[in-house]
Amino acid sequence: MKLFEYKAKELMKRHGIPVPRGVVVSAPEQITGLSAPAMVKAQVLTGGRGKAGGIRPADTVEAARAVSSEVLGMEIRGYSVKEVLLEDRLNVAKEIYLGATVDRSRKSILFMASPDGGVDIESVPEDRILMVSVDPLIGYQAYVGRRIASFVGLEGEQAAQCAAICGRLYELTKEEDAELAEINPLVVTKDGQVIAGDGKVTIDSDSLFRHDDLAQLKEDLTPLEEKARALDIAFVQLDGNIGVIANGAGLTMATLDSINTFGGKAGVFLDLGGTDDPEKVKQAMLLMTEAEPKVILVNIFGGITKCDTVAAGLLEAMEERGIGSPIVARIKGVNEEHAREMLRNAGMKPASGLSEAAQLASQESLG
């Protein structure tokens, strides 16, 4: 779950990382207690805010109000700006990149740092990026911060500040269950302060059970995505017209690959995950119909998910709402005979294999 910059900075402040004084508003008239010069920053969960005009300076409080009213309501890469963060403007002497993330290969928290901050880190050449993996058995130790501070070219008091920030960023990452905690730029000001110019934090959504404060945050989702989130299913809208429901990301993707081979194109990717609740299956089907696919392809291989559970949910959904789209159902695995019988009794013709199902659905979608 991505956090807005202001929320990310709130977490950073809580963990002792210096951030500029700031205030978040959703309307210019809410601006109080601001001192100029300030920066006005659109709060949207996408990159490229600066280029899109979502980050602008304001030399006076009056100007900050005027700029805020321009930025609020802007569209940036499809996201509308509902809030702006107004911050003290920093006197930048140097910009550093500092990030901590979960690294799959090393199975640990990985620090990334570069003396070339303030730009997209992917554009920085490799030899200008230091990667330091924190061994999980060892945990963060002061030498990690020392290595980073030295690599980004800081000395003395600034190196000490930077090293301390590394320790706090690690603590934030662990304690808040962040998948990513990034400060870009980490600013060294002209008067020698090291301070987070920007803040990006992504929380592991699997950890929200232990973060009541974060679990209450709203994400920037489309209405359908929001419903899917509430049902704990993966739901992605795509360009085609076949609604694919499967269980498991791999199988769902393989189903997409299969219809593609037969000329079909998916319009919805819906991964049920592992479930054994007919109600969830029913709700997923209803969600699917809201996306109005031309044909629905159900591909279930049961393990935790029992086939008859899926069939029951499917039939309940069809009963509750006359589903307009034709359904191709291919159900395999635990209790498959019972499930097939249920579908046959309801007048549907279950497909027997993935290829056959993909072919049928594709033909239907093209016809």
Binding site: V102, R104, S105, K107, S108, I109, E122, D135, P136, L137, T173, K174, D177, E179, D204, D206, S207, F209, R210, A234, V236, L238, D239, A246, N247, G248, A249, G250, L251, T252, M253, A254, L256, D257, S258, N260, T261, A266, F269, D271, G273, G274, D276, I300, F301, G302, G303, I304, T305, K332, G333, V334, G353, L354, S355
Partner: protein, 286 residues
């Protein structure tokens, strides 16, 4: 023969009194697995399908000789359950539970490794060796005994492919679902190493998906160390880049991690890559 499980495998099911634990304990026993104990704190003294339930894993191990744990406890308690199994000196822990916090996984994966425990998962279907034992939730009916070792990051997709193999008359030595989480206890390479060493595994199937670089790293290993023929399938060839597809394993990042990158690396390693999951049996038969 088989890898990770063998005829001496004795399973303790952590969370045996829960719905999944009870259901799949029965399924494992039906497969022929020796399920000797269950653990649910506070329910020691009960029985499930005739299997004694203990309060702690150490008691279960002491009294039944269990050497392999299968973990079904809810995600918030999974770390503690895995650490308990490691602490009780079992040789293998299969963690089925999904939605385990990633920082919990980082911790218990590191501890399991330090203790020399083979950890499969979290968020995995487990493993099955036809004729020997199954630990996890793979459907019993998909298997057929044979000489192909299957290793996969996916759950249901593995069932699909294994089922297709069995229907085509191609049996398996062991099928290992390593799980789709970002921090798997056991990765492709560890399982490939075991398949390479296992005399009863003659051919290998690797099932990967987009996201991460595990398949690229496995390709390096195949190139250098694996002499047995490898057939692979990578899911997500037609998934739109940048979309999150169900779990974090499917976030496409930078150059590596794409289907093209993985398929390219596998082909360069000498593996044959199937276009569709249903093509795998055909490539194996060639």
């Amino acid at each position: 023969m088989s890898v990770i499980v063998d005829k001496d495998t004795k399973v303790v099911v952590q969370g045996i009194t829960g719905y999944q634990g009870t259901y799949h304990s029965k399924a494992m026993m039906d497969f022929g697995t020796s399920v000797v104990a269950g653990v649910t704190p506070g329910k020691g003294g009960q029985e499930v399908h005739g299997v004694p339930v203990f309060d702690t894993v150490s008691e279960a191990v002491a009294q039944t000789g269990a050497n392999t744990s299968c973990v079904f406890v809810p995600a918030p308690f999974t770390m503690s359950a895995v650490l308990e199994a490691v602490d009780a000196d079992v040789a293998t822990v299969v963690t089925v539970t999904e939605h385990v916090p990633v920082h919990d996984a980082i911790r218990f994966v590191a501890v399991a490794k330090a203790h020399g425990v083979t950890l499969i998962g979290p968020n995995c279907p487990g493993l099955g060796a036809p004729g020997t034992a199954k630990v996890g939730i793979l459907p019993n009916k998909i298997f057929k005994q044979g000489d192909v070792g299957v290793v996969s990051r996916s759950g249901t997709l593995t069932y699909e492919i294994v089922n297709a193999m069995s229907e085509a008359g191609i049996g398996q030595s062991t099928c290992v679902g390593i799980g789709g989480d970002r921090i798997p206890g056991t990765g492709f390479i560890e399982v490939l190493k075991r398949f390479q060493e296992d005399p009863d595994t003659k051919r290998i199937v690797l099932v990967g998906e987009i996201g991460g670089t595990a398949e690229e790293e496995a390709s390096e290993f195949i190139k250098g160390e694996v002499t047995k023929p490898v057939v692979a399938y990578i899911a997500g060839r037609t998934a739109p880049p940048g979309k999150r597809m169900g779990h974090a394993g499917a976030i496409i990042a930078r150059g590596r991690g794409t289907a093209d990158s993985k398929i390219g690396a596998l082909e360069a390693s000498g593996a044959r890559v199937a276009r569709l999951p249903t093509d795998v049996p055909g490539l194996l038969a060639e």
